[in-house]
């Protein structure tokens, strides 16, 4: 059966939504004629035409602003940031216009802002960022980060159909490395719901994005070497967080390790630890630990980037420490 890559899953999701709903359209740099820097929108200009696949100037603020305006007029725009690192150029439009519109005067802004995030590809400081927390910190937005091809398709559809602005973070490292067989029928993945990828009682790893695979590999090692069964939870959605899933994993195992590629301070691990602490402290048998990138920009040279990125080894060290409690 045909296996669909993560990037192709995103493309299919957008394509199907554009077929299904005339209001959906795409705008961004090089998305039309070129099909997108990562080919996410390949073929769409020919199929849907210039009015629905718009090649814009280099103007992230106007790309998002125009998306907001079109959304107010009833459309469902998908704004692409060629690399999610450039989302900072549109920070104001996203956090001050889109996020606060409904709250202030009742007008929803059903836009999707999507782009490739994450490192591990020698991209350096400006092509490897994980900017999620600027937006997780902004009420009125939703933030999702799929890790599987199935979720990539289901979440882009959910994001497009959502009535609120959604930041959709694709992980560029996963684009062509992850493939699976996808259902033929239409489906969505709910925003705000995590997924248990592996069950276990001894400890829980909560993670998202490319780190899911590092966590799963670490879980295999723990099972083989120490007979430890690790519950691995793929958060999928960072805002809203699936609080129930988080608390459930904490109660089930009593030992929680949060892993994210984002930098440490202000990363979502801190938020998760606070939630667990507040609500299910009595169930804990050890502290909530975290494995994250250090508090630096993403460096470029391979040994530096390797030092920077969390990986299976670092996860194992933390997991063993936690298991020993």
């Amino acid at each position: 059966m045909a296996l669909t890559t993560y990037v192709e899953a995103i493309r299919q999701g957008i394509w199907e939504e554009m077929e299904r709903d005339d209001r959906v359209f795409v705008l961004g740099e090089d998305v039309g004629v070129y099909g997108g820097a990562f080919k996410v929108t390949e073929g769409m200009l020919d199929r849907f035409g210039e009015m629905r696949v718009i090649d814009t100037p280099i103007s992230e603020s106007a790309i998002v602003g125009a998306a907001i305006g079109a959304a107010l007029m009833g459309m469902r725009p998908i704004a692409e940031m060629q690399f999610i690192d450039f989302i900072s150029c549109a920070f104001d439009q996203i956090t001050n216009f889109a996020a606060k519109n409904r709250y202030r005067w009742g007008a929803g802004v059903p836009i999707v802002i999507r782009g490739p995030s994450g490192g591990g590809v020698h991209g350096g400081p400006f092509h490897s960022q994980n900017p999620e927390m600027y937006f997780v910190h902004t009420p009125g937005l939703k933030v999702v980060a799929p890790a599987t091809a199935y979720d990539a398709k289901g979440l882009i559809k959910a994001a497009i159909r959502d009535e609120d602005p959604v930041i959709y973070l694709e992980h560029k490292y996963l684009y062509r490395r992850i493939k699976e067989e996808l259902p033929k029928e239409d489906y969505t993945v709910p925003i705000g719901r995590a997924a248990v990828r592996r069950e276990g009682r001894d400890l829980a790893i909560l993670t998202y994005g490319a780190m899911l695979y590092q966590a799963l590999e670490a879980a295999d090692v723990l099972a083989r070497e120490a007979g430890l069964q690790t519950e691995v939870v793929d958060l999928r959605s960072l805002l809203p967080l699936d609080k129930d899933a988080i608390l459930s994993a904490a109660k089930k195992t009593g030992k929680v390790l949060v892993v994210h590629e984002d930098t440490r301070t202000g990363g979502i691990a801190g938020e998760i630890a606070a939630i667990i602490n507040e609500e299910v402290f009595e169930y804990l048998d050890g502290p909530v630990l975290r494995v994250t990138a250090p508090d630096t920009p993403v460096p470029y040279s391979p040994p530096l980037e390797e030092f920077f990125l969390p990986n299976k080894q670092k996860i194992l060290e933390a997991a063993r420490r936690l298991a020993a409690y």
């Binding site: 073929g43 100037p57 280099i58 450039f86 250090p294 040279s301 030092f307």
Partner: protein, 353 residues
Amino acid sequence: MSAVHKGQRRAPAKRRPAAGAQPPPLEPLRNPGLTREQLLVMHRRLRQNRMLEEKLSALYRQGKIVGGLYSSLGQEAISVGSAYALAPGDLLAPMIRNIGSLLVRGVPPLSLFLQFLARRDAPTGGKDGTLHFDDLGRSIIGPISVLGTLIPVMTGAALAARNRGEDRVALTYIGEGGTSTGDFHEGLNLAAVLNLPLVLVVENNGYAYSTPAHRQFAVASLAARGPAYGVASESVDGTDVLAVYGATRRAAERGRSGGGPTLLECRAFRRRGHAEHDDMWYVPKEIVAAWEKRDPIDRFETFLVDEGHATRKDLRSVEAALADELEEAAQAALASPYPAPEETLKDVYAGNE
């Protein structure tokens, strides 16, 4: 359901050919008063620019370059001509396709190879790649990937220089695509209102990745943006290194004498893709061919020979000497160590070395 849904990829259909920019009318090169020695220095830098990038490209094909590689093939006259027109203390901020300007300033090729190879002794120590480094000793401020950001930065640098009573012009570059950014606007407007000596070289090379100029803006020439900010502007043939040099001199002199910023559009063409991985299939072949006939280095060499400043043999021996130099630098860079992993944590803040 469409073919895509079934997982089949449709072959890309024939594209509407973009209205790609034709070269400007061909004018002969005219010496704006440079000595033979100065002309030969410019020639050497042009060749060095071209050959260094060819070497980088070869290394890229061997899988040795870390990250992306962006070429200035066909645009070297803009980098070299403009940088050469500055005084050594003038502030210079290159963009990604301005390696030639760094060479003019005396940045050693070894430093550049080290940058692209992500080695410990590179100017950024491997923290960032390509030309993203500063060299304040040579009055160079480096770019980041976000286009347009250098313009307000250089406006500020020029302001500081003026406040300190220093006679320094600030020059930076932006592509025609980058002129669509908010930072371009805010930076140029601020420089205009403060009447600062900013020389903004707009490299109109026809394409921003796959986006042709006519999808980027609705004016025929970006020189039209000068009066729209209340500043002087000019448009020159970017394949004519002497025209670029002359126009930059005029702009620098204007800035120095209190005449404020200049927007200098240099028209050329991006003869390679956006980056090494991009084969620019979206550019009509006829346009590329037209610009290949306007190779800036060929034009300049013909001028040098015709004016009696050098023979073809002289020019070839310059190339041969450069080839050896560059090979040596490349080998030295390839042999040099990577940074230690713990270097990742250094220099986030002052006192954090």
